[in-house]
Amino acid sequence: MICVGPDDVGDPPMPEIEAYEKQIAAAVRQRLGPRANLINPIVGTVFPNFSLLRGTSRTFRVWQPRGPEKTEVRSFVFADKTSPPEVKRAIRQAGVRGFSPSGSFEQDDMDNWQECTQTCRGVVSRRMPINNRMGLGHDRFDPDLGAWVSDYRFSESNQRRFYQRWAELIEAADWGSVDRVPPLEAEHA
Protein backbone atom coordinates (compact mmCIF):
# COMPACT_ATOMS: atom_id res chain seq x y z
CA MET A 1 0.00 0.00 0.00
CA ILE A 2 1.24 3.50 -0.80
CA CYS A 3 -0.20 6.30 1.32
CA VAL A 4 0.08 10.05 1.58
CA GLY A 5 -0.28 12.20 4.68
CA PRO A 6 -3.73 12.65 6.27
CA ASP A 7 -4.17 16.13 4.78
CA ASP A 8 -2.59 15.44 1.39
CA VAL A 9 -4.92 15.09 -1.55
CA GLY A 10 -4.61 12.35 -4.13
CA ASP A 11 -7.96 12.93 -5.79
CA PRO A 12 -8.52 12.93 -9.55
CA PRO A 13 -8.02 16.52 -10.75
CA MET A 14 -11.67 17.10 -11.62
CA PRO A 15 -13.51 20.05 -10.04
CA GLU A 16 -16.66 18.00 -9.24
CA ILE A 17 -14.61 15.44 -7.29
CA GLU A 18 -12.42 17.99 -5.52
CA ALA A 19 -15.45 20.02 -4.40
CA TYR A 20 -17.28 16.90 -3.23
CA GLU A 21 -14.31 15.60 -1.21
CA LYS A 22 -13.98 18.98 0.49
CA GLN A 23 -17.69 19.01 1.24
CA ILE A 24 -17.70 15.57 2.92
CA ALA A 25 -14.30 15.84 4.63
CA ALA A 26 -15.72 16.87 8.02
CA ALA A 27 -18.30 14.06 8.01
CA VAL A 28 -15.64 11.49 7.05
CA ARG A 29 -13.41 12.68 9.88
CA GLN A 30 -16.29 12.54 12.34
CA ARG A 31 -17.27 9.01 11.32
CA LEU A 32 -13.75 7.57 11.33
CA GLY A 33 -12.54 9.50 14.35
CA PRO A 34 -8.78 9.41 15.01
CA ARG A 35 -8.48 6.48 12.58
CA ALA A 36 -8.80 9.00 9.73
CA ASN A 37 -5.28 10.16 10.55
CA LEU A 38 -3.76 6.70 10.39
CA ILE A 39 -3.96 6.06 6.72
CA ASN A 40 -4.65 7.86 3.44
CA PRO A 41 -4.22 5.17 0.81
CA ILE A 42 -3.42 5.99 -2.80
CA VAL A 43 -2.89 2.46 -4.03
CA GLY A 44 -2.84 -0.95 -2.35
CA THR A 45 -3.41 -4.69 -2.65
CA VAL A 46 -5.23 -7.06 -0.35
CA PHE A 47 -3.41 -10.39 -0.63
CA PRO A 48 -3.48 -12.08 -3.05
CA ASN A 49 -5.35 -10.52 -6.00
CA PHE A 50 -7.59 -7.64 -4.93
CA SER A 51 -6.24 -4.13 -5.51
CA LEU A 52 -7.51 -0.62 -5.04
CA LEU A 53 -6.53 2.72 -6.43
CA ARG A 54 -7.82 5.95 -4.95
CA GLY A 55 -5.41 8.48 -6.43
CA THR A 56 -6.20 9.79 -9.95
CA SER A 57 -9.18 7.42 -10.15
CA ARG A 58 -11.39 5.27 -7.90
CA THR A 59 -10.97 1.71 -8.92
CA PHE A 60 -11.03 -1.83 -7.59
CA ARG A 61 -9.19 -4.56 -9.41
CA VAL A 62 -9.37 -8.32 -9.39
CA TRP A 63 -6.37 -10.01 -11.00
CA GLN A 64 -7.82 -13.31 -12.20
CA PRO A 65 -5.20 -15.94 -13.13
CA ARG A 66 -5.96 -17.50 -16.52
CA GLY A 67 -3.13 -20.04 -16.71
CA PRO A 68 0.61 -19.57 -17.23
CA GLU A 69 1.55 -16.01 -18.22
CA LYS A 70 -2.08 -14.92 -18.53
CA THR A 71 -4.07 -12.71 -16.17
CA GLU A 72 -7.54 -11.37 -16.77
CA VAL A 73 -8.05 -7.93 -15.23
CA ARG A 74 -11.50 -7.20 -13.82
CA SER A 75 -11.87 -3.50 -13.31
CA PHE A 76 -14.49 -1.65 -11.25
CA VAL A 77 -15.03 2.03 -10.52
CA PHE A 78 -16.51 2.87 -7.12
CA ALA A 79 -18.31 5.96 -5.87
CA ASP A 80 -20.20 6.88 -2.71
CA LYS A 81 -23.77 5.70 -3.06
CA THR A 82 -25.14 9.03 -1.85
CA SER A 83 -22.89 11.24 -3.98
CA PRO A 84 -24.72 13.39 -6.55
CA PRO A 85 -24.95 12.18 -10.18
CA GLU A 86 -22.39 14.70 -11.48
CA VAL A 87 -19.82 13.40 -8.96
CA LYS A 88 -20.52 9.79 -9.97
CA ARG A 89 -20.12 10.76 -13.61
CA ALA A 90 -16.82 12.57 -12.92
CA ILE A 91 -15.47 9.57 -10.98
CA ARG A 92 -16.51 7.20 -13.76
CA GLN A 93 -14.87 9.38 -16.40
CA ALA A 94 -11.69 9.76 -14.32
CA GLY A 95 -11.57 5.94 -14.25
CA VAL A 96 -12.07 5.55 -18.01
CA ARG A 97 -9.63 8.32 -18.89
CA GLY A 98 -6.90 7.43 -16.39
CA PHE A 99 -7.15 3.75 -15.44
CA SER A 100 -8.93 1.66 -18.07
CA PRO A 101 -7.47 -0.16 -21.08
CA SER A 102 -7.45 3.21 -22.88
CA GLY A 103 -6.48 5.19 -19.76
CA SER A 104 -3.55 7.55 -20.10
CA PHE A 105 -1.73 5.76 -17.25
CA GLU A 106 -2.86 2.19 -17.68
CA GLN A 107 -2.14 1.82 -21.39
CA ASP A 108 1.52 2.35 -20.45
CA ASP A 109 1.32 0.06 -17.42
CA MET A 110 0.19 -2.85 -19.56
CA ASP A 111 3.19 -2.35 -21.80
CA ASN A 112 5.50 -2.17 -18.77
CA TRP A 113 4.12 -5.36 -17.23
CA GLN A 114 4.45 -7.24 -20.48
CA GLU A 115 8.03 -6.05 -20.98
CA CYS A 116 8.95 -6.84 -17.34
CA THR A 117 7.64 -10.40 -17.79
CA GLN A 118 9.57 -10.87 -21.02
CA THR A 119 12.76 -9.44 -19.56
CA CYS A 120 12.56 -11.75 -16.52
CA ARG A 121 12.38 -14.75 -18.86
CA GLY A 122 15.85 -14.02 -20.22
CA VAL A 123 18.92 -16.15 -19.42
CA VAL A 124 20.77 -13.47 -17.47
CA SER A 125 17.69 -12.37 -15.48
CA ARG A 126 17.00 -15.96 -14.47
CA ARG A 127 20.52 -16.45 -13.12
CA MET A 128 20.00 -13.96 -10.29
CA PRO A 129 17.32 -13.29 -7.69
CA ILE A 130 15.02 -10.34 -8.33
CA ASN A 131 16.09 -7.16 -6.55
CA ASN A 132 13.30 -6.04 -4.22
CA ARG A 133 15.42 -3.98 -1.82
CA MET A 134 13.92 -0.52 -2.30
CA GLY A 135 13.18 0.99 1.11
CA LEU A 136 14.73 -1.98 2.94
CA GLY A 137 15.29 -1.10 6.61
CA HIS A 138 12.52 1.50 6.56
CA ASP A 139 9.77 -1.06 7.29
CA ARG A 140 8.15 -1.35 10.69
CA PHE A 141 5.05 -2.99 12.10
CA ASP A 142 2.50 -0.42 13.24
CA PRO A 143 0.47 -1.90 16.12
CA ASP A 144 -2.31 0.72 15.76
CA LEU A 145 -2.82 -0.17 12.11
CA GLY A 146 -2.06 -3.85 12.61
CA ALA A 147 -0.01 -3.63 9.45
CA TRP A 148 3.44 -3.12 8.01
CA VAL A 149 4.31 0.42 7.11
CA SER A 150 7.28 2.10 5.54
CA ASP A 151 8.54 5.59 6.34
CA TYR A 152 9.93 5.63 2.82
CA ARG A 153 7.06 6.50 0.52
CA PHE A 154 8.46 4.73 -2.54
CA SER A 155 9.41 1.29 -1.33
CA GLU A 156 9.08 -2.37 -2.16
CA SER A 157 7.95 -3.38 1.32
CA ASN A 158 4.60 -4.43 -0.19
CA GLN A 159 6.33 -6.66 -2.75
CA ARG A 160 8.49 -8.20 0.01
CA ARG A 161 5.48 -9.05 2.17
CA PHE A 162 3.50 -10.24 -0.87
CA TYR A 163 6.16 -12.75 -1.93
CA GLN A 164 6.92 -13.84 1.66
CA ARG A 165 3.28 -14.72 2.23
CA TRP A 166 3.03 -16.34 -1.18
CA ALA A 167 6.10 -18.50 -0.34
CA GLU A 168 4.52 -19.48 3.01
CA LEU A 169 1.38 -20.67 1.23
CA ILE A 170 3.22 -22.46 -1.58
CA GLU A 171 5.54 -24.27 0.86
CA ALA A 172 2.79 -25.39 3.24
CA ALA A 173 1.90 -29.11 3.02
CA ASP A 174 -1.83 -28.42 3.35
CA TRP A 175 -4.28 -25.69 4.41
CA GLY A 176 -4.31 -27.00 7.98
CA SER A 177 -0.64 -26.18 8.41
CA VAL A 178 -1.00 -22.62 7.18
CA ASP A 179 -0.91 -20.04 9.97
CA ARG A 180 -4.03 -17.87 9.81
CA VAL A 181 -1.99 -14.99 11.16
CA PRO A 182 1.36 -15.07 9.34
CA PRO A 183 4.33 -15.65 11.70
CA LEU A 184 5.89 -12.25 10.99
CA GLU A 185 2.69 -10.44 11.98
CA ALA A 186 2.02 -12.78 14.95
CA GLU A 187 5.40 -11.81 16.40
CA HIS A 188 4.24 -8.20 16.66
CA ALA A 189 0.56 -8.68 17.47
Binding site: K88, R92, G95, V96, P101, S102, S104, Q107, M110, D111
Partner: protein, 181 residues
Amino acid sequence: MPDAETIRSVEQFLYREARLLDERRFHEWLGLFTADIHYWMAARTNRYPRSSKAIAIFDADRYSEEDPSTADEFALFDEDIGTLRARVARLDTGMAWAEDPPSRTRHLLTNIEVVSETEDGELTLNCNFFVYRSRGETEQDFYVGTRQDNLRRIDGEWKIARRRMILDQNVLTSKNLSIFF
Protein backbone atom coordinates in the same frame (compact mmCIF):
# COMPACT_ATOMS: atom_id res chain seq x y z
CA MET B 1 -32.61 10.54 -47.12
CA PRO B 2 -29.58 12.46 -48.44
CA ASP B 3 -28.74 12.34 -52.14
CA ALA B 4 -26.04 10.15 -53.65
CA GLU B 5 -23.56 13.01 -53.84
CA THR B 6 -23.92 13.75 -50.12
CA ILE B 7 -23.45 10.09 -49.24
CA ARG B 8 -20.36 9.96 -51.43
CA SER B 9 -18.88 13.03 -49.74
CA VAL B 10 -19.52 11.47 -46.32
CA GLU B 11 -17.79 8.26 -47.36
CA GLN B 12 -14.79 10.18 -48.68
CA PHE B 13 -14.68 12.13 -45.40
CA LEU B 14 -14.63 8.93 -43.32
CA TYR B 15 -11.94 7.30 -45.48
CA ARG B 16 -9.76 10.39 -45.17
CA GLU B 17 -10.25 10.37 -41.41
CA ALA B 18 -9.13 6.72 -41.31
CA ARG B 19 -6.04 7.57 -43.33
CA LEU B 20 -5.14 10.46 -41.00
CA LEU B 21 -5.19 8.00 -38.09
CA ASP B 22 -3.04 5.45 -39.92
CA GLU B 23 -0.57 8.18 -40.85
CA ARG B 24 -0.56 9.38 -37.20
CA ARG B 25 -1.64 12.89 -38.20
CA PHE B 26 -3.51 13.29 -34.92
CA HIS B 27 -3.56 17.09 -34.79
CA GLU B 28 -5.30 17.19 -38.18
CA TRP B 29 -7.60 14.41 -36.96
CA LEU B 30 -8.63 16.55 -33.94
CA GLY B 31 -9.76 19.23 -36.38
CA LEU B 32 -12.48 16.86 -37.67
CA PHE B 33 -14.52 17.06 -34.44
CA THR B 34 -17.09 19.60 -33.30
CA ALA B 35 -16.51 21.38 -29.98
CA ASP B 36 -19.36 19.36 -28.42
CA ILE B 37 -18.08 15.92 -29.53
CA HIS B 38 -18.85 12.93 -27.32
CA TYR B 39 -16.50 10.10 -28.24
CA TRP B 40 -17.54 6.92 -26.51
CA MET B 41 -16.79 3.18 -26.69
CA ALA B 42 -18.98 0.71 -24.79
CA ALA B 43 -17.71 -2.00 -22.47
CA ARG B 44 -19.45 -5.35 -22.91
CA THR B 45 -20.71 -8.22 -20.79
CA ASN B 46 -21.93 -11.75 -21.40
CA ARG B 47 -25.73 -11.96 -21.04
CA TYR B 48 -28.13 -14.85 -21.26
CA PRO B 49 -31.28 -14.24 -23.29
CA ARG B 50 -34.42 -13.73 -21.24
CA SER B 51 -35.77 -17.05 -22.58
CA SER B 52 -32.72 -19.04 -21.42
CA LYS B 53 -33.40 -22.11 -19.29
CA ALA B 54 -29.74 -22.07 -18.18
CA ILE B 55 -30.43 -19.48 -15.50
CA ALA B 56 -33.27 -18.48 -13.19
CA ILE B 57 -34.34 -14.85 -13.61
CA PHE B 58 -36.02 -13.82 -10.38
CA ASP B 59 -36.81 -10.24 -11.31
CA ALA B 60 -37.64 -10.18 -15.04
CA ASP B 61 -38.44 -6.46 -14.99
CA ARG B 62 -34.90 -5.62 -13.96
CA TYR B 63 -33.22 -8.11 -16.30
CA SER B 64 -31.76 -6.60 -19.43
CA GLU B 65 -30.62 -8.54 -22.49
CA GLU B 66 -28.73 -5.47 -23.71
CA ASP B 67 -25.07 -6.22 -23.31
CA PRO B 68 -23.14 -3.08 -24.29
CA SER B 69 -22.73 -0.75 -21.31
CA THR B 70 -25.07 2.23 -21.13
CA ALA B 71 -24.16 5.92 -20.95
CA ASP B 72 -24.12 5.90 -17.15
CA GLU B 73 -21.90 2.81 -16.91
CA PHE B 74 -18.22 2.09 -17.41
CA ALA B 75 -16.87 2.55 -20.92
CA LEU B 76 -13.62 2.02 -22.82
CA PHE B 77 -13.58 5.63 -24.05
CA ASP B 78 -15.68 8.49 -22.64
CA GLU B 79 -14.15 11.62 -24.11
CA ASP B 80 -14.97 15.22 -24.88
CA ILE B 81 -12.94 17.57 -27.06
CA GLY B 82 -10.74 18.57 -24.09
CA THR B 83 -9.73 15.02 -23.20
CA LEU B 84 -9.22 14.04 -26.86
CA ARG B 85 -6.84 16.99 -27.16
CA ALA B 86 -5.11 15.91 -23.94
CA ARG B 87 -4.63 12.39 -25.34
CA VAL B 88 -3.00 13.77 -28.47
CA ALA B 89 -0.88 16.23 -26.45
CA ARG B 90 0.30 13.31 -24.33
CA LEU B 91 1.54 11.49 -27.44
CA ASP B 92 3.76 14.53 -28.12
CA THR B 93 5.44 14.43 -24.70
CA GLY B 94 7.97 11.74 -25.61
CA MET B 95 6.81 9.81 -22.53
CA ALA B 96 3.76 7.98 -23.88
CA TRP B 97 5.39 4.58 -23.55
CA ALA B 98 2.55 2.47 -24.92
CA GLU B 99 3.02 4.27 -28.26
CA ASP B 100 6.80 4.53 -28.12
CA PRO B 101 7.73 2.99 -30.52
CA PRO B 102 4.35 3.66 -32.14
CA SER B 103 1.75 1.13 -33.25
CA ARG B 104 1.30 0.53 -36.95
CA THR B 105 -2.42 0.60 -37.68
CA ARG B 106 -4.74 0.05 -40.61
CA HIS B 107 -8.31 1.29 -40.22
CA LEU B 108 -10.72 -0.48 -42.57
CA LEU B 109 -14.30 0.85 -42.79
CA THR B 110 -17.23 -0.96 -44.35
CA ASN B 111 -21.06 -1.20 -44.32
CA ILE B 112 -21.49 2.57 -44.33
CA GLU B 113 -25.21 3.10 -43.92
CA VAL B 114 -27.08 6.38 -43.49
CA VAL B 115 -29.63 5.95 -40.70
CA SER B 116 -31.28 9.36 -40.61
CA GLU B 117 -30.97 13.00 -41.53
CA THR B 118 -32.26 15.91 -39.48
CA GLU B 119 -33.93 18.94 -41.03
CA ASP B 120 -30.73 20.95 -40.75
CA GLY B 121 -28.74 18.24 -42.49
CA GLU B 122 -27.04 16.44 -39.55
CA LEU B 123 -26.52 12.81 -40.53
CA THR B 124 -26.57 9.73 -38.36
CA LEU B 125 -24.74 6.82 -39.93
CA ASN B 126 -23.54 3.36 -39.05
CA CYS B 127 -20.39 1.69 -40.20
CA ASN B 128 -18.35 -1.36 -39.29
CA PHE B 129 -14.64 -1.16 -38.61
CA PHE B 130 -11.74 -3.57 -38.67
CA VAL B 131 -8.60 -2.10 -37.15
CA TYR B 132 -5.34 -4.01 -37.38
CA ARG B 133 -2.56 -3.01 -34.99
CA SER B 134 1.00 -4.28 -35.19
CA ARG B 135 3.62 -3.21 -32.72
CA GLY B 136 7.22 -4.08 -31.86
CA GLU B 137 8.48 -7.16 -33.63
CA THR B 138 5.56 -9.58 -33.86
CA GLU B 139 2.81 -8.21 -31.59
CA GLN B 140 -0.58 -7.86 -33.28
CA ASP B 141 -4.17 -7.07 -32.37
CA PHE B 142 -7.48 -6.96 -34.18
CA TYR B 143 -10.17 -4.54 -33.08
CA VAL B 144 -13.45 -5.36 -34.81
CA GLY B 145 -16.73 -3.60 -34.18
CA THR B 146 -19.41 -1.21 -35.24
CA ARG B 147 -19.94 2.46 -34.64
CA GLN B 148 -22.55 5.16 -35.07
CA ASP B 149 -21.46 8.68 -35.99
CA ASN B 150 -23.34 11.95 -36.12
CA LEU B 151 -21.91 14.18 -38.83
CA ARG B 152 -22.62 17.88 -39.09
CA ARG B 153 -21.65 20.21 -41.92
CA ILE B 154 -19.90 23.34 -40.64
CA ASP B 155 -18.79 25.94 -43.21
CA GLY B 156 -19.12 23.32 -45.94
CA GLU B 157 -16.93 20.73 -44.13
CA TRP B 158 -18.13 17.59 -42.43
CA LYS B 159 -17.41 17.41 -38.69
CA ILE B 160 -17.96 14.54 -36.26
CA ALA B 161 -20.38 15.57 -33.51
CA ARG B 162 -20.88 12.21 -31.80
CA ARG B 163 -19.24 8.80 -32.05
CA ARG B 164 -20.54 5.68 -30.34
CA MET B 165 -18.42 2.54 -30.78
CA ILE B 166 -19.04 -1.10 -29.87
CA LEU B 167 -16.28 -3.71 -30.06
CA ASP B 168 -17.22 -7.34 -30.65
CA GLN B 169 -15.14 -8.59 -27.71
CA ASN B 170 -16.30 -9.17 -24.16
CA VAL B 171 -12.85 -9.48 -22.56
CA LEU B 172 -10.47 -7.27 -24.49
CA THR B 173 -7.71 -9.56 -25.78
CA SER B 174 -5.33 -6.73 -26.63
CA LYS B 175 -3.31 -5.39 -23.72
CA ASN B 176 -4.53 -1.82 -24.19
CA LEU B 177 -6.36 0.71 -26.33
CA SER B 178 -3.53 3.12 -27.04
CA ILE B 179 -4.79 3.92 -30.56
CA PHE B 180 -7.81 5.87 -31.80
CA PHE B 181 -10.82 4.60 -33.73
